[in-house]
């Protein structure tokens, strides 16, 4: 287990180094000039040069990369050109909103996946379920998100269409508003936060539900044919007990891996969904950084999500080994 963790953390560092290098190179190729973007289109050349020197952009690329890496080692992701804040501080500020959204999307997605798989395994005619999954899976995420926003917010008004809370200027100790509401003894705030979370989380959960549901279903079909299921039936156990105690756990490995993959790759969808629902998280932050050629910010956020992906994968592997004692880490 210790060897496993050491190996994975080593991998994490390696991936971050490679990723930082790639994103840094992109910065050199893309013809956008952050100094000009910051100074504005009508600024005199001297101002642009001054800003460029301030940001260290007049140094050779290799030197810039070296400086970046040495700062990175001290936990400094650099300074955002757009917000003029340390990027690490921005991550801490906007990260909880995104993480809260991801966790809710994951919970919703897993529940749906479970229901879908259960329906397909138990129903004799599950063609409708399969067709529905196919239809839902064929919708691109921006369309799902827009349709949800249009009907459930704009037309029906059941759920809010933007922001994290109805009240403004709320700050809590953790930044996770559902948790903060509960910690501060304000369940109304927690509920309000969940109410706001619902639409963006739902939009994000659709691809998770479909991919994990399919994976869980095919794993269950296979497991329920295994001889040990017959042994369990031969013992006279009830169908429910056989499904939950003998079936589900043995089928857990593949859908867990799929869940990890989906959550780890959520970043792309997060940009779209946070933009559509004006969710003040890292996705929206990235979109805005792109808009103002804020490459240091994009680089920093990319690294944060790279690390997030590796951590999720690690968590999945630990969970898999808990579910199946034959998998030794």
């Amino acid at each position: 287990m210790l060897a496993y963790l050491a190996k994975r953390l080593g991998g994490l560092v390696l991936v971050l180094v490679v990723m930082s290098f790639i994103v840094f190179c992109l910065q050199a190729i893309i013809p956008a000039d952050p100094a000009r973007a910051l100074a504005g289109p009508s600024a005199p050349v001297e101002t642009i040069e001054r800003i460029r020197a301030e940001l260290g952009l007049d140094q050779p690329l290799l030197v810039q990369y070296g400086q970046f890496m040495s700062r990175l080692a001290q936990g400094d992701l650099g300074t955002s050109i757009r917000t003029r804040q340390p990027i690490a501080a921005d991550v801490l500020k906007y990260g909880p909103a995104s993480l809260e959204l991801i966790v809710f999307a994951m919970l919703l997605g897993t529940s749906f996946a479970f229901l879908l798989a259960f329906a397909q395994t138990t129903m004799t005619r599950s063609g409708g379920v399969r067709l529905g999954m196919l239809a839902a899976g064929s919708f691109p995420i921006f369309l799902t998100a827009l349709l949800l926003a249009y009907f459930l917010w704009f037309k029906l008004g059941w759920f809010p269409g933007s922001g994290r809370l109805d009240i403004r200027r709320f700050t809590g100790p953790t930044g996770f508003f559902v948790l903060d509401g509960l910690l501060l003894g304000r369940p109304d705030i927690a509920l309000n936060a969940i109410w706001h979370l619902f639409l963006p989380a739902l939009a994000l959960s659709v691809p998770i539900a479909i991919s994990v549901g399919r994976s869980l279903n095919s794993a269950l079909v296979d497991v329920m044919r295994q001889p040990y299921i017959r042994t369990a039936r031969g013992k006279g156990l009830s169908g429910g007990r056989i499904f939950f105690r003998h079936g589900l756990r043995n089928a857990a490995s593949a859908p867990l891996a799929m869940l990890g993959l989906q959550v780890g790759l959520l970043y792309g969808n997060l940009l779209i969904v946070e933009r559509i629902f004006s969710w003040p998280g890292l996705g929206l932050y990235t979109v805005q950084s792109f808009g103002s050629s804020d490459l240091p910010a994009v680089l920093g956020i990319a690294m944060v999500f790279g690390a997030f992906y590796i951590l999720v994968t690690m968590l999945v592997e630990v969970l898999q080994s808990v579910a199946d004692p034959r998998i030794a880490l």
């Binding site: 060897a3 006279g236 043995n250 579910a323």
Partner: protein, 610 residues
């Protein structure tokens, strides 16, 4: 039927006119066609028949566990301890499984939930923690406390089967169904498991249905034998009487094909039945008629009833009085073709060593298990050497090294003329590509020779004729052929370009007796007529003795004995060989002969290897 007068008790199980139809790929077929049968408390009855005879279906029907996707249609009556099973609701069937009828499965490796501890799985059967330990100890498992806490994958096959027997017997069922409980186990473990089953069944007066394709196993265990063919009862009788004088040509065929350590190895095995079309048990005729050497006109016009004779034997055959002549005919089986041997070595293995497992890493010590420890073995041209040993002994690894499929860590492999050998694998169906016709797969070996298409076709037809397959079948896909035909095709593929050396990896272990006998005859004749050397890997000592000139015994990666086949069997030197020889079930054996072997504690590497 009624029970013999010596059985005073009322039957615990009585089956009347049982018909079962199952669907497969949308086509329904009759699997059981009118079974009548009684089972007394404490009685052990062996259900004998080849695959497709419906013997496993009887077991599943009794448990109410026929697969739902097969849309089973059941008619007739099954009364188990006074309760009717046919037409019972799922809830009642569950109650029956909980307490009255239990099963011991065929393959213990897959029959335990891999993510649940042994103890938890036994407690699910309604046992307390103390009872779990008590039952594990009763089935002869060492250190029950450790085993109860263990996960199934850390146990060997024999240990798992003991756990499954404990699981079944602890419920004190009235009827126990043991569906080939030992076929997946090593021969020494087989004997222990049979003894355990018999003792527990006697102690608890549990009626046992013992499903097997092996008459010798039935002979050692059962009070009565019921022979099934194509979903109908062919013959029922007391074990010893039936084996001494079978009255149905199918039973006679099973007995003739059956080989053991006393069989005559100077000639081919007697086989009665041809592996023609698989008979379907419907219609007004004897369903054995297409394979029966005694068939007359009336056999295809009427269905023979199961008739009870004076001596209590029940037979469904019009020609049963001619069966003794048939048995006499079997003893004149053809002799082997003339063999040609020479001094040159077809295969030479020199100090082969092989280990498996992770090598030493930066953060991890080496966890290597030595599988082969310095093996020296030579096979001369035209000679057959059988390599025997239990699972985990390293015999399959050695075969793969001899085939050049696996590189040894140390040592040398050399073939005569440097030509790599051909291999016949255990699972013939899996060894054929499903989407290519068998002819094309044989042609693949002819392509490098630069022959014309016409010459290739001629060679393919010759090879198919050689292995006894109709050359017209070269356009068939493997899925359209029977398992026996597929095995013949793999042999044809191996010999279409005559190899100097043929390696066979347990080619008969998944076969019925009659099919196994035919395959042994084929391989034995081919290697003699073609002058091939052969390495025959098997766990079956009787097969090894029949096919091979010499036997090499492998124990945990060491060759413990190599010698002339008859000598190794009749006067084994190594203690391990003695144990293997002693454990082989023999047809002439009686229940008293079944020895009790001390349960061996098998180490973890054994469990992992198997």
């Amino acid at each position: 039927m009624t029970l013999p007068a010596t059985e005073p008790e009322a039957p615990v199980l009585s089956i009347r006119g049982l018909h079962v139809r199952l669907s497969r790929d949308g086509r329904a077929s009759t699997v059981l066609d009118g079974i009548d049968f009684d089972l007394a408390p404490g009685e052990v009855v062996a259900l004998v028949g080849e695959s497709g005879s419906g013997k496993s279906t009887i077991g599943l029907t009794l448990q109410g566990l026929l697969p739902a996707e097969a849309q089973p249609e059941i008619s007739g009556s099954i009364r188990l301890a006074g309760r009717e099973i046919v037409g019972a609701r799922p809830r009642e069937l569950r109650d029956l499984r909980l307490s009255l009828v239990r099963a011991v499965p065929q393959d213990p490796m897959g029959a335990l939930n891999p993510t649940m501890s042994i103890g938890a799985q036994l407690r699910e059967s309604g046992l307390s923690a103390d009872e779990v330990l008590e039952w594990l100890a009763r089935t002869g498992l060492p250190n029950p406390r450790r085993i109860a806490a263990d996960m199934p994958h850390r146990l060997s096959g024999g240990q798992r089967q003991r756990v499954l027997i404990a699981m079944s017997m602890a419920a004190k069922p009235r009827v126990l169904i043991a569906d080939e409980p030992t076929t997946a186990l090593d021969v020494t473990v087989q004997a222990q498991i049979l003894t355990l089953l018999r003792d527990l069944a006697r102690e608890h007066n549990t009626a046992t249905l013992f499903i097997t394709h092996d008459l010798a196993v039935a002979a050692e265990l059962a009070d009565r034998v019921m022979v099934l063919y194509g979903g109908r009862v062919a013959e029922v009788g007391h074990t010893r009487a039936l084996i001494a004088a079978p009255s149905h040509p199918y039973s006679a065929g099973l007995l003739a094909a059956r080989f053991d350590l006393d069989s005559d190895r100077s000639r081919q095995l007697g086989t009665l039945a041809s592996e023609q079309l698989r008979a379907r048990p419907s219609g007004a005729h004897c369903n054995y008629v297409t394979r029966c050497p005694l068939a007359e006109a009336e056999c295809s016009e009427r269905k023979p009833d199961l008739v009870r004779r004076q001596d209590g034997r029940q037979v469904a055959c019009f020609q049963s009085n001619r069966v003794p002549d048939l048995l006499a005919r079997v003893r004149e089986a053809p002799s082997w073709p003339e063999a040609s041997a020479s001094e040159a070595n077809a295969l030479e293995l020199y100090r082969i060593e092989k280990s498996f497992g992770p090598k030493r890493g930066i953060l991890r010590p080496a966890r290597q298990t030595q599988v082969l420890a310095g093996i020296d073995l030579r096979i001369q041209q035209g000679e057959c050497v059988a390599l025997v040993g239990e699972s985990g002994s390293g015999k399959s690894t050695l075969l793969r090294i001899a085939a050049g499929l696996l590189a040894p860590d140390e040592g040398d492999v050399s073939w005569f003329g440097g030509i790599p050998p051909q291999v016949v694998f255990q699972d013939a169906v899996a060894a054929l590509t499903p989407w290519l016709t068998v002819g094309e797969q044989i042609r693949d070996r002819l392509r490098p020779l630069g022959l014309s298409r016409h010459e290739q076709d001629k060679k393919i037809a010759e090879a198919l004729k050689l292995v006894g397959v109709d050359p017209a079948l070269q356009h068939a896909l493997p899925s359209e052929l029977s398992g026996g035909q597929c095995q013949r095709i793999t042999v044809a593929r191996a010999v279409v370009v005559p190899p100097k050396l043929l390696l066979c990896d347990e080619p008969i272990s998944a076969m019925d007796v009659s099919l196994a006998a035919q395959t042994l005859n084929l391989l034995g004749s081919l290697r003699r007529s073609m002058g091939m050397a052969m390495l025959f890997v098997t766990h079956d000592l009787a097969a090894a003795r029949l096919i091979a000139d010499r036997i090499a015994v492998l124990e945990k990666g060491h060759l413990v004995e190599v010698g002339e086949a008859d000598q190794v069997i009749s006067a084994p030197q190594a203690p391990y060989t003695k144990m293997l020889v002693g454990a082989v079930p023999r047809l002439g054996g009686s229940q008293e002969k079944l020895q009790t072997f001390p349960p061996r504690e098998r180490d973890q590497s054994d469990a992992l290897a198997s």
